[in-house]
Each structure stands twice: as C-alpha cells, then as structure tokens.
Symmetry: C2
Subunit: 152 residues, 2 copies
Amino acid sequence: MVLTEKQKELIEEFGVLNEKYGLPPAECRVWGLFLVADKVELTFDEIMETLNLSKGGTSNALNRLMMTHHIEYITKLGDKKRYFRCKMNNWTQMTKENFEKFDDLNIILKEILKARTSKTPQFNKDLKEVTEFLDFVYKEIMLAIHKWENRQ
Amino acid sequence: MVLTEKQKELIEEFGVLNEKYGLPPAECRVWGLFLVADKVELTFDEIMETLNLSKGGTSNALNRLMMTHHIEYITKLGDKKRYFRCKMNNWTQMTKENFEKFDDLNIILKEILKARTSKTPQFNKDLKEVTEFLDFVYKEIMLAIHKWENRQ
DNA sequence: AATTAAGTTCAGTATTTTGTGAACTAAAAA
DNA sequence: TTTTTAGTTCACAAAATACTGAACTTAATT
C-alpha cells in the first residue's frame, strides 16, 4: 500500500501525540495507519510493509491494539489471513475509561488527606477543595457521556 | 525529616500513578513528598535527604515542578535557603490544561477526516461521530469547570 | 510427508530516559 | 580574602523501553 505524503504526515502527528500518553511509536503508527488508510481492512503483511516494521514489531503492535480494544480482526472463509480493522464504536467507552484513570488520582489524594497531620489546617483545607473539585468535574463528565449515549 | 511507613507508601502510590503520565520517578516522589509531609515548607536539603536523592536529581526535579507550576518557593529575610511548597490554587487551571491536551487528539482526528478517501463512507461517518462526541464532551467539561470557578 | 503461509516468541541490540556525583558558580559569612 | 552555603551543570553510568530478525509453532496446501 502506498501512502501520500499527507497520510504519512498525519500518521506521524497522531503518533507523536499518542507517544506522549505512553504508547510505543510503532503501535501509534499502526493505529494511525488504520485511521488514514484508504481501505478499512488491512492485513498483517500490508501493515508491516507499509510502515517498514519488522514481523515481531508488527505482531506486538497489533496484539497490544487488540488488547486495548482499538482494533479487531475478521476472517474470511477459505482464507488463512486475518483482516484487521479499527473499532470505531468504542470511543465513548474508551473515553470513559480514560476519565476513570483521571479519578484514580483523586482517590489517592483523598487517602493522602486522610493521613495528613492536623497541624497544617490551611493546606488540608486546600487539598480538600481540590478533591471536591475533582469529584465535581468527574461527575459532570460522566453525566455528559451518559447524556451523549442516550441522545436520539 | 522522618516519614512514617504510611507516608512512604502514599508517596510511592502517588508516584506510580504519575509515572504512567510520563513524569520521572524522582519528580513524582518530590511532588508526593510535598503532599504527605507534616510541614508545608521544605528545603532543598530536607527533600534530598528524606528521599535519598542526589543533588542533581533534586535540583532537576524541583525545577521541573516549578516550570509546571506544581510548586513554588519563598525566601526569608537573612536566609539564603529557598523554602519550597506545593501550589494548591492551580488545580483547576492544571485540570483545564490537561483537558486541552485531550482536545488536541480531536483536532488531529478532524484533520484525518478531512484528508480521508470518500470510498469508505461508513468509516468516515463513524469517525465524524467520534469527533462530534469529543467536541461535545470537551464543551461539557469546560462548562463544568466554569461552573465550579463561578460558584459562591 | 514435505512445503507453504501466517503469525508468535524471544534473545540480543539500539535507543532513550533517569539519576549520580564531582566540578562549578554565585552570593553570603567569617 | 578565604570559607561556607545553596544550588546548578554536565559527563557518565545504570536502567528501562522499543525494535529487529531469526527460530519456532500451528494449520493449511501440495
């Protein structure tokens, strides 16, 4: 598969952004390829050749993307190959999970607050307010997602 | 400064969580120390000794935490030392910035959508819906933060 | 039964990221 | 003016991460 310069550029841009969130470069590029490619279904070899990845690297990236539910594969009768494709119906789920991780921070902050000395009342009050703020934002986000899911 | 086992544990827990978001371990521990310590103002040497960090490592961690506005320092007349402390009044700002980074993803997805082939209408429709979802959630989050900032 | 196809696994390498500690700077104290 | 204090800088070492490619597995085909 031949990519246009624009497609390559978008893959890299998408990659750099996701690397910031801890994904390995190869995995980002594979995910990005699914988003920019002119076809929806891609085979192992196509991905490997288009991105100049090794077999091991390709295998690893695809399996990680499947574990995180970003992609899936389908099979075709009388064909041994797998056809991989991007899952587009799980973004609200994915986003929800992301914000749940954001709530983990608040859980630890509340634990910290509970364990703090009483000798620093102003600090404790400030920290309490932070946890209240995070609680509030988290609830509003979940409400917003719920609102989206139940729209007509 | 001597820490209780509980304090040490909380520092590590807070550290592991923040390492997931790309912060170096030493920096996470320093930040965590400010959150669990029985004092609000800590000196360079206190931090270094309490966490068994090197001078360079301590200097680097403190400067990075200052650049990201997580901590600040005050000085005292007739005292050369700096007294570092955690900034607790910038969490709404910090949170806002975090969500702006979340919006960057949507900006790229919209670019990708614009550049896509017209031969994959279902995929394009799905991707468009993702961007609309992300738009919606982002707006609701900003609204929520605004609501919090303007509460009485 | 041998060969091919489609991928997996893993040892080793390359790269990047972190942290150390000694040498350095700049200001204050002796 | 020398010494001490408070911290910075930077070369190097250690550790973690990511990728490659060859050997392997499993199933299908010849």
